[in-house]
Amino acid sequence: MSELIAPVAPVLERPARMHDGRLRRTLSFFGHRPGLLVSVVVVFLVGVSAFAPDVFSSQDPTAGVPAENFRAPGAAHWFGTDSLGRDLFTRVVHGAQLSLRATLIAVAFAFVVGGTIGLVAGFVGRWVDDVLMRLVDVVLSIPTLFLSLAVVTALGYGTTKVAVAVGFANVAGFARVMRSEVLRVRLALYVEASRGIGARWWSVLGRHVLPNSIGPVLVLATLEFGTSILAVSSLSFLGYGAPPPAPEWGTLISDGRNYLANAWWLTTLPGLTIAATVLATNRIARALDGELRQW
């Protein structure tokens, strides 16, 4: 028995030491990139407010105190209050839930549909590739917002519908990247080898092609996250998102529009929140796209 235990002990010890080194490396990685650290914190905070808004604000985002309307930002109301006396900070925090959910749906839709199209086009090749890629070229030559508006016209209003519209408009980009990665991987030696030893096409696809080509598509997904937040907020600014009392970020800004002259915070602060979130996700996307190798 002791023979069996003996080699185990050093193995148990090693991860601890590795962990120590990794921690130091992580610290120095972020130490050289304070912007990235801030970005991670911002995205974390937005994520928390999306999934557990009560952590930051336990108030009701739709209930206001009419007597306390148009209060400027201060200790009692961090972001001030709106025309109905609702706390703007609470509304922004709860709005993260709607806006982030829409963004996630949009990115997931574009990722799954676009990725599948690109995978099929690249893997099957021949006329299937030609047809799919022509289609993708066309979609790319229609401005994404117009495409989204067409989908919104057909589907109607609402957070999820807006999300699908934004995702639909971004499908082409994902298809393109996925296809070019699949084409690159398909010619690799290990794919040829696995074909050579008689692997079935689905196992070649699932075990070799997909895992090796998904990386850049995932990076694109993080990049698209920022643009999707902007697109979703544009559509909800135009009034196609959730109906009025819902505090979607774009809707908050469009609500505040009418009070530009007397309540600057109603437009400025939700806009800054959007900008900070997009900036942070873009920074993280840029880190994933190369910098992580220097970890």
Binding site: I142, T144, L147, T153, F237, I253, G271
Partner: protein, 320 residues
């Protein structure tokens, strides 16, 4: 050269056809009954008289099978008839061509401004000898692409129209009314141009011919503007061509911010009344502008770089 242009024109027509087809199928095949939406004109529709629904269905040909509808509409579109607006009854082409000049004017001035601002920023950043200045200038473009465009517009209105009444906040009147929307639109586009141009300038400045030009005694500024900029501008030009579509789409949003007449107002009212022919027309015109601009960009390449010979190739639609 003429053969190339003809080829590209044929391609452009193909793209327009495909845009028409795609928007047709999005609008007609996706769930949601267009006719009852039209009759109800909006989200909360009261029950509508079934006979009236039937009449509308017949009038717009929705009672025919979809392929037949499509061929019918396409035939009309080929002779320049995109149908009539459901809400106003006016021909779609007339509605759009009336609104388009305002939007194109806005888009063009924003693009010019974006070139000046973005180009200037990239040049200044790469020309500056001080690392601090360079760092600050290069950190601006990522900021510019992260900010919602409509929000920039509202901030400008707040500052330049409400605090200091320098520019009008609303309307189409004259040059003064154009300034704020154009600046608003120029920010994200200019930022993207600056990103690409700065990157391409940095790589170009490492090229051997830059060293040669310097060694021959050319001044720093001369080398920067004459030798480097010209060669570095090609990627920026490509990106600018690709950004025009996005710029025009943003213009539609910004027009509603500044309550300007133009494609934005047409689009917004069409989407809210589910005016399918108009929405489809907007999509097709959007694709048209994009295709034309990118054709122009391709024709400008050989002027900037004589090494480029126009040759048949696939359209440059790369991920930015």
């Amino acid at each position: 050269m003429p053969r190339y242009v003809i080829r590209r024109l044929v391609q452009a027509v193909g793209v327009l056809w495909a845009a028409y087809t795609l928007s047709f199928f999005i609008l007609v095949l996706l769930p949601g009954d267009p006719v009852s939406a039209m009759a109800g004109a909006g989200a909360d529709s009261a029950p509508v008289d079934p006979a009236r629904l039937e009449a509308l269905r017949h009038e717009y040909g929705f009672d025919q099978p979809v392929p037949l509808q499509y061929l019918n509409h396409l035939g009309h579109a080929l002779i320049g008839d995109l149908g009539d607006s459901v809400a106003t009854g006016r021909p779609v082409t007339q509605l759009i061509t009336q609104a388009l000049p305002q939007t194109l004017l806005l888009t063009a001035s924003a693009l010019t401004l974006a070139f000046v601002l973005g180009g200037g920023l990239a040049l200044a950043a790469t020309f500056s000898a001080r690392p601090g200045v360079r760092q600050v200038l290069l950190s601006l473009p990522p900021l510019g692409v992260s900010v919602p465009t409509f929000w920039i517009g509202l901030m400008l209105v707040q500052f330049f129209s409400f605090r200091n009444q320098w520019f009008p906040a609303f309307g189409n009147d004259g040059l003064k009314g154009l300034v704020l929307p154009a600046v608003t639109l120029a920010v994200p586009t200019g930022a993207q141009i600056a990103l690409v141009l700065a990157k391409s300038l940095i790589t170009t400045l490492d090229e051997p011919y830059i060293g040669t030009a310097r060694a021959k005694g050319a001044g720093r500024r001369h080398v920067h503007l004459r030798h480097a900029l010209r060669n570095a501008s090609l990627p920026a030009l490509t990106v600018a061509g690709l950004l025009v579509g996005q710029l025009m789409a943003n213009a539609v949003v910004i027009e509603t911010v500044f309550s300007r007449n133009g494609l934005g107002r047409v689009t917004q009212s069409a989407v809210s009344t589910q005016d399918i022919p108009v929405v489809q027309g907007v999509v097709v015109y959007g694709a048209l502008v994009f295709v034309v601009v990118n054709l122009l960009v391709d024709l400008v390449y050989p002027v900037l770089d004589p090494r480029i010979v126009l040759a048949p190739r696939r359209p440059v639609v790369a991920a930015v």
